[in-house]
């Protein structure tokens, strides 16, 4: 019976590889007002193999642990407001997301949320909105990156 359950699980796992997109991304990807980008593990594996340095930081160790990157952005007034509201509803302490960081600078707001998922996986959500430029960007990172990994990012 155990073998049966195990093989059944294996069969299921092999067919659900593509179901890695979050519900929020799924709801946004068909909205023509938003630009969306999904980068999967296959693509990230290639990024990892070359040296990845951003603003003097070596991100190789972090990229290695990433499962996916999802970006939703818009630069139009009404959709920007709509995306901002939807993001703050979806990602909030009420939905088990912990606020890691919040920054306000004039009309520019940035919030980073964190949620621990199953299987040692974590989800980080960055929401940036600028009222001046009518721009909202939501970046969702999933993977086994821990808050300690972020602390340990070394400057080159």
């Amino acid at each position: 019976m155990k073998k049966f359950i195990l093989t059944l699980l294996l069969a299921l796992v092999s067919t659900v590889g593509a179901m890695a997109q979050t519900k929020f991304y799924e709801s946004c990807r068909n909205n023509p007002e938003f630009e969306t980008v999904y980068i999967g593990k296959a693509m990230l594996r290639m990024v990892n193999s070359s040296k990845l340095h951003v603003q003097g930081m070596n991100l190789n160790t972090v990229v290695d642990k990433l499962e996916s990157i999802q970006v939703i952005t818009t630069e139009k007034k009404k959709p920007a407001k709509q995306l901002k509201e939807a993001a703050y509803t979806e990602f909030s302490p009420a939905t088990q997301y912990e606020i890691m960081m919040e920054a306000n600078d004039n009309d520019d707001t940035t919030t980073i949320f964190y949620k621990k998922l199953k299987n040692n996986s974590n989800e980080y959500v960055l929401i940036n909105s600028s009222n001046d430029f009518h721009e909202t960007t939501v970046i969702i990172l999933t993977g086994s990156i821990t808050p300690e990994d972020l602390k340990n990012l070394k400057r080159l």
């Binding site: 073998k3 049966f4 093989t7 059944l8 294996l10 069969a11 299921l12 092999s14 067919t15 590889g17 593509a18 179901m19 890695a20 997109q21 990807r29 068909n30 023509p32 938003f34 630009e35 969306t36 980008v37 999904y38 980068i39 999967g40 593990k41 296959a42 693509m43 594996r45 290639m46 193999s49 070359s50």
Partner: protein, 139 residues
Amino acid sequence: MKKLIFTLLILFSSLVASAAAFDSVFSKFKKIDGAEYVKVPGLLVRLSASKFTQVDSLPMDIKITGIRVLEVPKSAGSKFDKAIEDAGKNCELMLETTDNGEKAIIWVEPKGNKSYNKMIIYSADDRSLVELSGKFCPK
């Protein structure tokens, strides 16, 4: 014994479903009116694309052994989109981007842990589907 055969069948069917994911899309939509379908024969690919093993700045070893291209008319749009989305669920999503209602998606079909044997590129803008078969190994 029955249980073993049954579980093996389930496992095998899931693998077959993955391998044939886009085959059904090609075979179904190439027959519709106005569709354009091109399959580049293996020999021709070997002659022309065998030297093509690298793409600038993409750290991947590429060996292409087959190319299929399908473009369907606007009238087949929503059905084609649905078939593509369903087939894509059986592959690994590599990259997806949407902008102003235009959509481009790249899937890969894994072969083992470190390489892929198919790369499928879909452009919703002109409803075209390109399948590259071969070996794609990230360096």
